[in-house]
Every structure is written in C-alpha cells, then in structure tokens.
Subunit: 287 residues, 4 copies
Amino acid sequence: MSENKGNAILLFTCPDQNGIVAKISQFIYQGGGNIIYLDEHVNQNQQFFSLRVVWNMNQFNISAKQLHQAFEPIAKQFQAHWRIEFSETKLRVAIFVSKYDHCLQEILWRYHMNEYQIEIPLIISNHPDLQNIAEANNIPYHVFPISKENKAEQEAKEIALLRENKIDLVVLARYMQVLSPDFIQAFQNKIINIHHSFLPGFVGGNPYKQAYERGVKIIGATSHYVTEELDEGPIIEQDIMRITHKDTINDLVRKGRDLERIVLARALRYKAEHRIIVDGTRTIVFD
Amino acid sequence: MSENKGNAILLFTCPDQNGIVAKISQFIYQGGGNIIYLDEHVNQNQQFFSLRVVWNMNQFNISAKQLHQAFEPIAKQFQAHWRIEFSETKLRVAIFVSKYDHCLQEILWRYHMNEYQIEIPLIISNHPDLQNIAEANNIPYHVFPISKENKAEQEAKEIALLRENKIDLVVLARYMQVLSPDFIQAFQNKIINIHHSFLPGFVGGNPYKQAYERGVKIIGATSHYVTEELDEGPIIEQDIMRITHKDTINDLVRKGRDLERIVLARALRYKAEHRIIVDGTRTIVFD
Amino acid sequence: MSENKGNAILLFTCPDQNGIVAKISQFIYQGGGNIIYLDEHVNQNQQFFSLRVVWNMNQFNISAKQLHQAFEPIAKQFQAHWRIEFSETKLRVAIFVSKYDHCLQEILWRYHMNEYQIEIPLIISNHPDLQNIAEANNIPYHVFPISKENKAEQEAKEIALLRENKIDLVVLARYMQVLSPDFIQAFQNKIINIHHSFLPGFVGGNPYKQAYERGVKIIGATSHYVTEELDEGPIIEQDIMRITHKDTINDLVRKGRDLERIVLARALRYKAEHRIIVDGTRTIVFD
Amino acid sequence: MSENKGNAILLFTCPDQNGIVAKISQFIYQGGGNIIYLDEHVNQNQQFFSLRVVWNMNQFNISAKQLHQAFEPIAKQFQAHWRIEFSETKLRVAIFVSKYDHCLQEILWRYHMNEYQIEIPLIISNHPDLQNIAEANNIPYHVFPISKENKAEQEAKEIALLRENKIDLVVLARYMQVLSPDFIQAFQNKIINIHHSFLPGFVGGNPYKQAYERGVKIIGATSHYVTEELDEGPIIEQDIMRITHKDTINDLVRKGRDLERIVLARALRYKAEHRIIVDGTRTIVFD
C-alpha cells in the first residue's frame, strides 16, 4: 500500500471578484486532486473574499514542496493573501501557564487522545507550580519568573526559546501575565488566550467577581487572538453557562473552569485544523 | 363545590437569623394552610435572607383581606420587607411600544393562551404604528409623541393614565425612548425592559451593529428592571444564540428578535407569578 | 438602475469523483456569474457528493428560462440528481392545521415580517377552529373533516386543491391526522412535520406525557420529512429545553409549544432558502 | 476557635399533608440550628411530598450521633422515608471502568480539585488497561475479568470488596459490562451509570452509530440509576450537543466524550451533595 500523503489545506483571501473558485478548483483538478472540503465567505460589505479548500494529496501530481511555487501565479492574479498547510505536518504549540492547571490538563488529555494534529515541545510558566504535570507528560517545563524589572529581559529569553523550538502557536492557558507589545508583535496572530468572561463584558481582572456583582444570569468564556489592546483581539470561540442567584463567586469560578477548558480546547482545535482566517477585528471560522 | 380561593404568595426578606421558617410555616399551619411551594435563599455575605412561600387559601381560616394584618407582627419581629400576593388577582400590566411589533405580539399571544395571570388594560406608544394590533386585540392604544420639548408634559400624562388604570407593572416592549428619572421613580421596581444585547456588553444604541463589529460568536438579550442608569438595572433574565461569520447585521437583527421575544416573555412570567425579589444590583428569581 | 434578477441556487448530488467543483464553477464563471455561496459535502462512506452553490443572475448571460437546458450536459456527465431554484421565485406553501394555533401563528408572523421567500395561498384543516386566524390574514381556509370512512375521498380533494394551487410544500403545523401513503407519495419530500418530542424518543401520541413519565431532564421538538413510517422521516431540525422535576405535564406542553414553534419555523426557513438535500434517512442542511 | 461541625442534610419524603415544614423547621429551630437551604416539592398527583433541608451544626444542641434518634418521632408521625447526611462525612465511592479513560480522568481531576466531598478507596475494572492512571493517583486498582462462566463468581468477589471498603456509591464510568440483577439489588439506588445517548433514544449498544444512521441533529448523554432493566433507571442528568451532517461517527464519539464527562461529573456531584430523591421512575434533583 502506498504512503498516505494526507491533505493540503489552502486558506485564501482576496478582494471579491468573479472566477476565483473556478480558477482554484481547476488548479486542483488538473493536478489530480479530489476536493474533500470547500467553503467560502464574502463579508458583509462584499469586499473581502475568503476560502478554505482541502484536497487529498495521494494522487496529486504536484509535491508538497513544489506546491507553493506552483500555486503562486494564481494568488498573484487575485492579489491574495494565502497559505497552504498540510494535514500531516503537526502544528508546534507552546503552552503558557501560571498556577491554574485545568486548561493545561484539558489540552494534554486531548493531546494524548490524538484529538489534535499538534506537538507540544515545551510548556512555559512564570511559576514552578505545574512542573510535575509537565514531567508526568514528558514535556520540558521552563520557568521564567516575571517582575516589572526583568520583564523585557525574560520575554526576550522566552522569544528566543520559542524560535529555537520553531513554535507556530502560543496558547495562553490561564497565563496570568500581560504580554508586552514586543512579544505580541513577534508572534502576530500566533497567540491565543482564554479569557474567563463573555467578552466584551467584564474585561480585565476578576471577571467572575464582576459578573456576580452585576447579577448576570449567564456567564461565559472567550478564546481570542492576543493583540496589544487587552482582551480586544479577534474572538475565535465563546460559550456560556446559566447561573442563578444561588451561585456564589466560588461557584462561578468552579463552573467557569469547565467553560474555560472547553472553549480554549475548541479554539486550539480550530487552529490545529487550519480553520481560522482573521478579517480585521473579526474571525472567520470555517466549520 | 366550594369556591376556589387560589393561593397566597408571600415574598419576604430580612436580616438572616434563626427561626424564620419555623415561625412562618407555623403561622400557615395554624391557619389551616397547606404549603405548596417554599424556597429560601441567604445571600453570599450571609446578611440577606429571602423567602418565597405559597399556600392554598381554600381551607385557610384567615381571609385574604385580613391576612396582611394577621401576618404583620411576624414581619415586625424579623424587621422584614414583605408583601403578600394572591394568585387569583391579576397583575395589571401596561405595555409600552414604539414601532417594532414582535415583543408585543409575543406577549399578546401568550396572554390569549392564558399563560399569564395578568390583565392588559392599555398599550402606550410614542408612535401610531401598532394601533391596528391593539385594536385587533381590543386593547385601548394611547399615543404620546415625545420630543425634547414636550417630554415632561407627556410623561406626566402617561403617569396619570397609568395610575388611573391602577397599573402594577410597565413593560417596555422595545420602547425606543429613555424614561425620565421622574417617571422611573414613580414606578420604582415596576418597570421592566428588554435590551437587545447580552448585558453588560453593548449598552446603549445599536447593539447588533456593535456585536457584529466586535465579532462575537454569540448574541444575547437581557430583560432587566429600569433604573436611572441606562441598561444598568437588576437583571431578571438573559438568553443567547450562537452566530457565525456568515451572519450579517440584518441576520443578527432577525435572530435577535427571537431572543428578545422569549427573554421578555419569561421575565414577564416571573413577574406575573411573583417570583422575583430585588437584592441591590441583583435579582433573586425563585423557580 | 437595472432589474434585480436575484440569485440562482443549484442543489446537486452525484457519486463522488474529481473535477465536479471545477466544472460547475467554470460554468458559472463563463456565464459571467459571481458565486456568493458554495458549500459541498461528501458523506462518510465517500460515495455521495452533494453541493449547494448560489450565484447572482444580474450579469449572468444565461437567462433563468434557458438555465436548465444549458446546465443539463454537466449534470449528465456526472450522473447527478439536481435542481436549480431562483431566489426571486416564492415557494408556494400550504399549511395544514387542526386546533392548536401556535405553529400557525408563528409562521404567519414571520411571513408578514418577510423572513421567508414564500407565498401561502391556502390553509387546510380538519377542523373549523382556526378559521378566524386565516381570515385575519386574508388567507383562504379550507375545512376537510376526516373520518375513517371519508379519509380517502377527502384526501383526494385536498390533493386536487393543492395541485390547483401549484403547492411546492405542505407544512403540517400540529396537524393531528396521519396522512395516507397515497397522499405522502403524491408529495414525495414535499411534506414537513413538527413532532413534539426529541426523536427518536417518544414517537406517536402524547409525547409530553411519555416524557414526564420517563422522567427526562430535557424535552425536545423535531421537524422532519413525512414518510410512510410514522415519525421516521429524515430529520431537518431539532432543539431542546431543560426541564426539572417541578414541571408538570401541563408545563411541558407549555414549554414545548415554544420549541415546536421555533423548530418548525427554522425548518421552513431551510426549505424556503433551498438549503436541504435528503441523503437516505438523513438530511444535509447547508447553513 | 471552635471546631467546624459542618451541616446536617435531611432528605425526607412522605404522603403530602399540612404541617410538615412547620414541624421540621420547629425541630431545627429548637435545637439552635440555622437553616441554610430548604426546598420542597409535591409531585403532580399531589401524593408525594419531598423535602431537602440543610442546617448548620455548629450551634446545634443535638449531636450528629443523637440526631437520628431525636428526629425519628417526627418521621414516624408523617410515615416518612428519610435519612440525615452530614457534609463533613465523605461519600465513599468506587469507580468501575473498562478501557475508556475520559470519564475516570474527569472524576479524578475534580476529586483532586476538591469539587466533591468524596473518597475513592478503589477502582474496579474488567481490564488492566487503566491501571497506570489509578497508580498515578494512588488509588488501588482491582481487575476482575468477566466471562459468561465466571460472572457470578467475580461479581460476588466485587460485592465483598465493596462491602469491605464500606462503599456508598458505585459509579460506572463507561464500564462495558452489564451488572447482574443480584449485584444491582445488593446496591439498590447506589449505582449510577453514564449512557452515551439522549435516553430514551438509542438504548443498548453503539448509540453513536445509531444516532448517525437516524440522522439526528443533536446528540446527548444521560446519567441514571442502574436498575434491572437496561438503560431504564431513573434519570439524574442529561445534556446535549448540536451536530451536523458533516460529523462522522468518529466525530460523534469524540464530541460525545465531552458530554459523557460533564454529565457523569454533574450526576456524581448531585449524589455527593445529597441532592437526589428517587420518586418511582423519576428523580427529584434539588438544586
């Protein structure tokens, strides 16, 4: 039996115009590829076309190596932003944590269940607390304590370490430190966070306390890209849970943990399967 | 067969202390009443006890008329705020509308289905548009156009009309005018509103446009008491609906209508069944 | 300004193979059409390809009348089942009711809000009860009382009336009569029903009583195509609502009404927008 | 500072009659107890009264040891079934597993987060596969392979082991063996299971395959008491997740794991907090 070459995944955006799908699907057909997923979207003001198309590489007569070059003329013709990913290439993910373990544990469990096509070469923390979890999972754990004074220096070391490990995605799994603009720019659209509220409600610290005091009847969690404005990056996924007057702040924290876990896990899945395109302050998540 | 006297509903709050339930349940037992609902709540800081208890009046040896006086000594002993309502007395509800009909239609349909123990003696609007709906339902429709100049004068007329009609509750069913502090104080804790966002997100105007631009993945609606701070009153009920990047602002408006209808309808139900106690910025909704 | 010709909507299924999207998108491109929606699906056993594609007809150089003939060669090449619908052509819908009005009212309200691209030329019932609702909406109301003896005869009259009115879709809006196999065959895949349970649980009569007695914690409603096996047709849409031990059967009926309304309304929307393809016992609903 | 004696939790059912709450709350008040939770329910046919009341023991002048005897006369007067539990006494829970680890991992994580007031003295399995998880958590793991021939014998050993360990509750966390009637009778109302469907739909084996083939739009999971009729015991908790035509059976299995985890975890929580009363084929879950 021949090697399984997996799928190619094209993410493609350009100004809307006639003939885009025709051109791209023709390209795939001529190469001998069978499309197994195609979804497109034109945004509300009709200016921004986006596409996700997946085809099988087994019978495809352009190799993964040559594909980028072969496709480039089409992309140029449409003035597109684009990239091609391969299902057989694992996304290299670094997880940042502080003291809470629930998001980390959830990701690791799914990682071992092979729910994600990812590798986790390292975990970074500003605290030593979760070292033993990393060890039990045989993943290197790097502690960088952060203070006002050493922040720039420590972040520089973290960036170097991430680059050394060829990290594609940084996941802030309840990491309780605000990243500097320099760090964020170094990993543009490559950092996702879980915020423990239904954004845009309750930005900043202690959202469960804020939620309790405001007396909302539903709490939420939000996974979003990290940008320089705190809790303002494009939203990837949200979910909610009903609460009542009986729930104390501690109950919200407990119930919220379940939301945080599930919402971050879904966002990571969308990233790992290359389903997300950022369109300004919004995301397109192809399902 | 004897007359059905329905139920008495006691809503009771006081500083928490021993013996409250014992005293009140003893009072009901001695009168020959059978408790059919009892739920209590002590809030997080343990200071505020609240209770809803319902008992049948058929065999009760204190009449509805005498009940207030008979119960008063117990209330005094506990320094309580309290009221007793009767399931056979219909809440008198005035509905305020502008041009959108969906919340009004929803309430009227449930009203005719006898889902609520209410009467609707009148509908008030700042526009003539929904007159025909009122007429089809045989409900008087009063138009008070509002401008900066005449607002105080028109509201005074509205208040007079509401008092004349012995209105217990004002329901703002997508009424597109901010009520003045004078109006709000005249009906303290007697005005409920539907806001077309998941509060505290997207206060003020055009929340669906705000939601679209922020790129949220879930929209919501919130029914709350009206207080002098816009969209800041105690929340009674909320619900949400998942959206995607495919939804335009018009789709949000359309989907949101369903949320607004259902959330306001539930809040009105809680009011009509005397299930709500306001505890500062929060509500206790006994279910 | 020129006439708005709206969109063409192609629903297309065939055995899966390479080149389908390329061929169809090329056809649209050559005609001068701009694709505004394209989604495809290949089912689990990889045998059944299905596609929904929508393009604007304004600049398209093949007229709506000629389109069927022009597209036929492509369909033949792929041995496809297919049809082309036009967004400007309203689906002609007949609503069947008995005594409950909630599903009918819901559809009529959305109809008047222009949520659907449909016409409702008539309402058919086995009871006279909802005549006044039909009249208030200026829709002819035909009563066909059904008994064991006259069922075949009455259904024949109904079928004739539906054909006379060129009905595309029959919506059973809590119609409390089982249709005969003859009727169902006359409108293959053109009859949708709302069943007041979460199928496959609680088929047949009195599902809320069944749900109460089984003690489920969640109730549901299901809209499905009507086939000859009762409550066994392909499911279009389902939704659920949480209940508790406090809910009596009457509460389930009341809560369930809201589910039935919303689920049937959504299913009708999917039909009106030509989003559904039947794949054996399952449906593909392109969203 | 004095010892924290925690709370007493009374679960009480009897034929409905006047004066029950008065009597019980008087008993608590006279002992010096402060009620911190009280909820009651009378079922639909008005025959079955049930009550959960919680009071603090710190100032209570009847000790935990004497409480049973002190309360008995009241229970007798009302011909009640009842029990008193104490929040400081941990429920002793045995977990049964086969090869799937997700429900076990979920429970263990919450156990270590102190979400439950339980102890887990042992894990029992018919397979050795999850031994290492048990070891990592320092919990004894007992393997009892089951065949037709040895089933009675092995179950007898399991029962002996459970009794030795004074087990209060058996949790079947995707245990893939049907328990014999003898086993079930030995732990009447003390065995809870997680079934991977929205009961009563898809009883028995392979529910995700059944769900796929029926084409449902929503899947579910159900935690219930184990009785002698397979998947027919009183339901404690259910939850659901929306699916689409895109989901394969494997996707349902993956998505369903999240449901199974969360639904079983909630059911265990209700048991650990003594919130459940069984009323025939139904449960009352006091929230």
